[in-house]
Symmetry: C2
C-alpha cells in the first residue's frame, strides 16, 4: 500500500493540477474519508471556472462514444477536459461500467484529459454527494470543460440537470415507442439534443420528431419546460426569460467517426456564451449550490439515522410488523421519537 499523502499536501498539489493528487482527493470524497470535508473546503474558493456539461440518454444511444469524441474535439482546440462518468445502475456490485469503456478510448497518455467513473456505493444520496464534490475537485484542478456522463432514464436525469450548466440529451434512431414517451421528461432538461448514430435508418425521422416536440411545446411553454428545474428559484427564472430564451438545437452526430461532433462542440460553446450573457450562468450556479447544500444536509441526516438505529431495535420492530402487532407508520414514528 502506498503511504497516504498528507491532506495539506494533497490540497496544494491538486490546486497545481497534479493528476495523482486529484485522483486521490476524489477517492477520499468518494469514501467519505475523514479529511473529505477539509479538502472540499480548502479548494472551494478556486471553483466556478469550468463549463459543466451533462450528457445523458437511454442505454444504446452511444453516449460513451460521443463523450470520447467530444473530448477529442475539445483537445484539438486546446481546451483541457475532465470527465466524470456517473453510473447509478449497479448498486449491488459497485461496478463502474461507463468509466471502463471511456477509459479504453485512447486518451490515457494525454495530461489534458482526466477520466473518472463513479458508481453507487452507499445508500440514498451517497452518489449525489460524492459526485457533486468530485465536480468541485475537477473544477479546482483547473480543467476548462467538465463532462458528466450518466446513463438514463430516471432520477439520474434530474441529478444531471442539477449539477450541469448545459445538458446534452443523446438520442438514437429506432429506439422504440416507449423512448418517445420518455422524451417528455428529457425535453424538460435538454439544452441541446444530439441524435447520435445519425448514419442509421430513421435518423431523419428521429430529428423531425424531436423538432416537432420542441415546436408543439410552443415558445413560452418550451421556455418554461426547458427551465423547469430553474423555476424552483423565482429570481433565476425571470432573469433567464428577460434575456430571451435559448433555442434548443437538434444536432446529428456519428460519434464513432467524429461526424457532427465539431458542431456539437460549437453548440456547447454557444450555450455557454448565452448563459453568461443572459445571467443564467450565475442563476444556474445558485441552483447547483442550493442543490448541493440540500444533498449534504440530507446525507448528514440519513447518516445520523443509520448510526442511531441499532440493528436489534430495527429487527425487533420488523418482527412485530411481520406479526401484524404494529404497523409501519407507528413503527416509524417510534423510531423517529428515539432519534
Amino acid at each position: 500500500m502506498p503511504k497516504p499523502i498528507p491532506t495539506q499536501q494533497l490540497i496544494d498539489s491538486l490546486l497545481k493540477g497534479d493528476r495523482l493528487a486529484l485522483a486521490r482527493a476524489i477517492s477520499r470524497v468518494e469514501d467519505d474519508a475523514e479529511d473529505a470535508a477539509r479538502i472540499v473546503q480548502a479548494v472551494f474558493a478556486h471553483t466556478g471556472k469550468a463549463h459543466l456539461v451533462g450528457i445523458t440518454g437511454a442505454p444504446g444511444t452511444g453516449k460513451s462514444t460521443l463523450v470520447s469524441a467530444l473530448v477529442e474535439s475539445y483537445r484539438a482546440s486546446g481546451l483541457t477536459v475532465g470527465v466524470l462518468a456517473v453510473d447509478p445502475t449497479s448498486p449491488f456490485s459497485g461496478g463502474a461500467l461507463l468509466g471502463d469503456r471511456v477509459r479504453m478510448t485512447g486518451h490515457s497518455g494525454d495530461a489534458g484529459v482526466f477520466i473518472r467513473s463513479m458508481a453507487t456505493r452507499r445508500g440514498i444520496g451517497g452518489l449525489a454527494k460524492a459526485s457533486a464534490a468530485a465536480l468541485l475537485l475537477l473544477d479546482a484542478a483547473g480543467f476548462d470543460r467538465i463532462l458528466v456522463e450518466t446513463v438514463g432514464a430516471g432520477q439520474a436525469e434530474v441529478e444531471i440537470a442539477s449539477v450541469a450548466d448545459t445538458v446534452v440529451v443523446v438520442e438514437a434512431p429506432g429506439m422504440g415507442d416507449e423512448v418517445q414517451a420518455i422524451k417528455a421528461g428529457l425535453l424538460e432538461i435538454a439544452d441541446i439534443f444530439a441524435v447520435n448514430k445519425a448514419d442509421r435508418k430513421g435518423a431523419a425521422r428521429t430529428v423531425a420528431a424531436l423538432e416537432m416536440m420542441l415546436e408543439t411545446g410552443g415558445a413560452s411553454a418550451q421556455t418554461i419546460l426547458h427551465h423547469g428545474q430553474r423555476l424552483e428559484m423565482g429570481a433565476a427564472a425571470s432573469e433567464t426569460e428577460a434575456a430571451g430564451g435559448w433555442s434548443i438545437p437538434v444536432l446529428k452526430t456519428v460519434a464513432i467517426s467524429g461526424g457532427g461532433v465539431g458542431q456539437l462542440r460549437d453548440a456547447l460553446e454557444g450555450h455557454r456564451a448565452w448563459l453568461g450573457e443572459s445571467g443564467a450562468l450565475a442563476a444556474g450556479e445558485r441552483k447547483r449550490l442550493d442543490h448541493m447544500l440540500q444533498t449534504l444536509v440530507q446525507a448528514e441526516l440519513l447518516a445520523r439515522m443509520e448510526r442511531a438505529l441499532s440493528p436489534e431495535l430495527r429487527r425487533n420492530l420488523v418482527e412485530k410488523m411481520q406479526g401484524r402487532q404494529i404497523d409501519p407508520y407507528s413503527a416509524a414514528a417510534d423510531l423517529v421519537k428515539k432519534l
Copy 2:
C-alpha cells in the same frame, strides 16, 4: 367536487374490496393527506396475502404490453389482479406515462382488475413511500396478485427488488451493447427473465446471452448475486440457501399476441411456491418491511428538514457560497446545527 368519504367509512369499504374506496385511499397516501397514516394503520393487519410481482426492464422492451397480457392470463385462471405502474422518469411534469398506456388495454370493465399509475411528485423518497403504502392498500383490498411495473434502468430496479416477492426482468432482442452491460445489474435482481418481442430477429441470441451470463456466474455466485438484496439480512440469506437455490428461467414471450405468457404465469406461480417452501417468502417480507420502515423514517426526517429550513436562511447561505465566503460543507454543517 365530490364530498370526501369519512376515513372510517373509506377503510371499511376498502377492506370489502370496494374499488372507489381503494382509489380514494391510494390518492390520500399519494397526497400524504392527514388521514393517510390512519388508513394504512387500519388496513395493515389485513395485508400479507397477495403475491407481489415486480416487472422491470429498459424502455422499448414492451413491459406494459406484457403486463397487460399477464393480467389477462391471471384473469383467465380466475385470479384477481392489481397493477401499480410506477414511473420515476417524469419528475417535473408529474405525468404518469405507463399508467395511461396500461389503462387503454381493455380491462376497464373488469371488477377483478384494478390499475393505478403513480409518478414522482415530491422530493427524494416521496415516490417510494407512496408506492409502498399503495401496495399495502391493494393487498388489503384482497387482490390475489399485484403487479408493480417500473421503467428501468437505475435506482428504480433497486426499489422494485425491495417491494416485490418475485422480480421479472424484461429484455428484447437487439437493444445494443450498452444494454448488455446493464444486465450485470439486472442479473442481481431477476428471479425470471422474459425475452419479449421474441418473434424478432436476434431473440435466440439474446436468450443465449442471458443463459450464458447466468451459467458463467456459477451456481453459488449466482445464488449470491441473485439474492444480493436479501444478503443484507443475514438470516434471510441462509434460510434461502438451505432450501436450495431457485434456478432463474429465461422465457420467450410475444406479449402482443399472448405468446409465451402462460409459461411466464406458470413460472411466476412456480417461484411463488418455491418462496413458500424455502422460507424465502417470510424472509422477503421482513426485508420489505424493514425497507418500508427506513423509507418512512427517511421521509419524516427529510420533511422535518424542509420545514426547518426557511427559504431566507437557505437563500442567504447560497449567496454566501456563490461569493465563496463559505463552502458547501460548512454551510451544511451550519444548517444541521440549526435543526
